[in-house]
């Protein structure tokens, strides 16, 4: 194993990349090293040297089990890619792409040049924005009767019914409330996805890592959208309209970004 190996962060067009002032680049993934560009024709990969002893197959697997070690490196990776994405169109790589020799990176850039150039063309002038959909259960349950036609109808009939019938209908109403609340959240999530998809160039529904309950309620869905910078205001307005329309149902939308386009560079 050689003393140093090469960690790759992202790929950009070499002409634009070399315009970035070298001294303003953020810190590399490991201390006391510099990030630099490796260019081949129109493309350049942003890399830094890392110790081969740590970034070997076995040693890396061991370090990755240390959450703090990993989180710090992942954050540095993100900081670097975010910085570049602010200035030029960038293809972000997943964390942990390592080459043993500089030559290997040059070969990869040459071999995949067409695919990478097409990808950059597709991403030019675009950013990724995240939308999280939260549901406040208490607010939803208190408004569900006015939202759901089925429930509204049942409540009206229960008011007219005899005491015995009314009692049974009340029980049915309570049982139905939970189902209708679930259906209402699903309907809103679909509506958010469909309408914001129309306002964007591409969309992905993301997995929820764990059930998050925040001050805004429980996280019900996460989306990533690819949006032209020049069209972001329209996207934001559409998101605001959706938020307003669904506020009484206890639904909140959270917009995060801009992110490097991590979700739109996969196959």
């Amino acid at each position: 194993m050689s003393a140093t190996v090469f960690y790759v962060y992202c790929i950009a067009e070499s002409a634009a990349a070399t315009q970035l002032p070298a001294d303003s680049l953020p810190a590399a993934i490991e201390d006391d090293t510099k990030i630099e560009w490796v260019a081949v024709n129109k493309l350049a990969a942003l890399i830094s040297q890392v110790p081969g002893a740590i970034y070997s197959e076995e040693s890396l697997a061991e370090h990755l089990t240390d959450a703090t070690w990993t989180a710090i490196r992942a954050m540095r990776h993100e900081t670097v890619v975010e910085y570049v994405a602010k200035h030029v169109t960038v293809v972000p790589l997943r964390f942990g792409t390592i080459y043993l020799e500089r030559h290997g990176i040059e070969q990869m850039l040459a071999e995949r040049s067409r695919e990478l150039e097409e990808m950059i063309e597709h991403l030019r002038g675009r950013e990724e924005w995240g939308v999280n959909v939260y549901s406040d259960r208490a607010a939803l349950m208190s408004s569900i009767t006015s939202v759901s036609p089925v429930l509204r109808d049942l409540v009206a009939r229960a008011e007219q019914a005899s005491p015995g019938q009314s009692y049974l209908m009340q029980k049915k109403i309570e049982a139905l409330k939970a189902d209708e609340a679930r259906a209402e959240v699903n309907r809103i999530v679909d509506q958010v996805e469909n309408r914001l998809r129309e306002q964007s160039d591409d969309a992905r529904r993301l997995r929820i890592l764990k059930v998050e309950t925040t001050e805004h309620g429980e996280l019900k869905a996460k989306f990533a959208f690819l949006i032209k910078r020049t069209e972001f205001e329209e996207f934001r307005e559409a998101a605001e309209r959706l938020a307003q329309e669904n506020q009484t149902a206890g639904v909140r939308l959270e917009l995060t970004g801009p992110w490097p386009v991590y979700n739109f560079v996969q196959d």
């Binding site: 190996v5 790759v8 790929i11 953020p26 070997s56 197959e57 890396l60 697997a61 990755l64 089990t65 240390d66 959450a67 703090t68 990993t70 989180a71 710090i72 992942a74 954050m75 540095r76 990776h77 993100e78 900081t79 890619v81 293809v91 972000p92 790589l93 997943r94 964390f95 942990g96 792409t97 390592i98 080459y99 043993l100 290997g104 990869m108 995949r112 990808m119 995240g130 993301l206 890592l209 764990k210 998050e212 805004h216 934001r236 998101a239 605001e240 938020a243 307003q244 506020q247 909140r252 939308l253 959270e254 917009l255 995060t256 992110w259 490097p260 991590y262 979700n263 560079v265 996969q266």
Partner: protein
């Protein structure tokens, strides 16, 4: 009350730490480098990270390290 939360200062929340890590660890172009972290490794990382993010103090420590770097 504002209906939409535009979280441009997402660095400040624990959820955002996990969200950032999810972007970096699980997405992005996969190029077969000579050493590439496998899917099994990523799953293992998540176990550790979920524990870490639940421990708010450690998460903040990581964020501080990020900012000072």
């Amino acid at each position: 009350m504002d209906q939409i939360l535009v979280s441009e200062e997402w660095e400040n929340s624990d959820l955002s730490l996990l969200e950032t890590l999810d972007h970096v660890l699980n997405r992005g172009l996969v190029i077969a480098g000579e050493i590439t972290i496998g899917v099994a490794d990523i799953d293992l990382i998540y176990v550790g990270l979920n524990v870490m993010v639940s421990s708010v103090e450690t998460a903040h420590e990581v964020l501080r390290k990020r900012q000072t770097k």
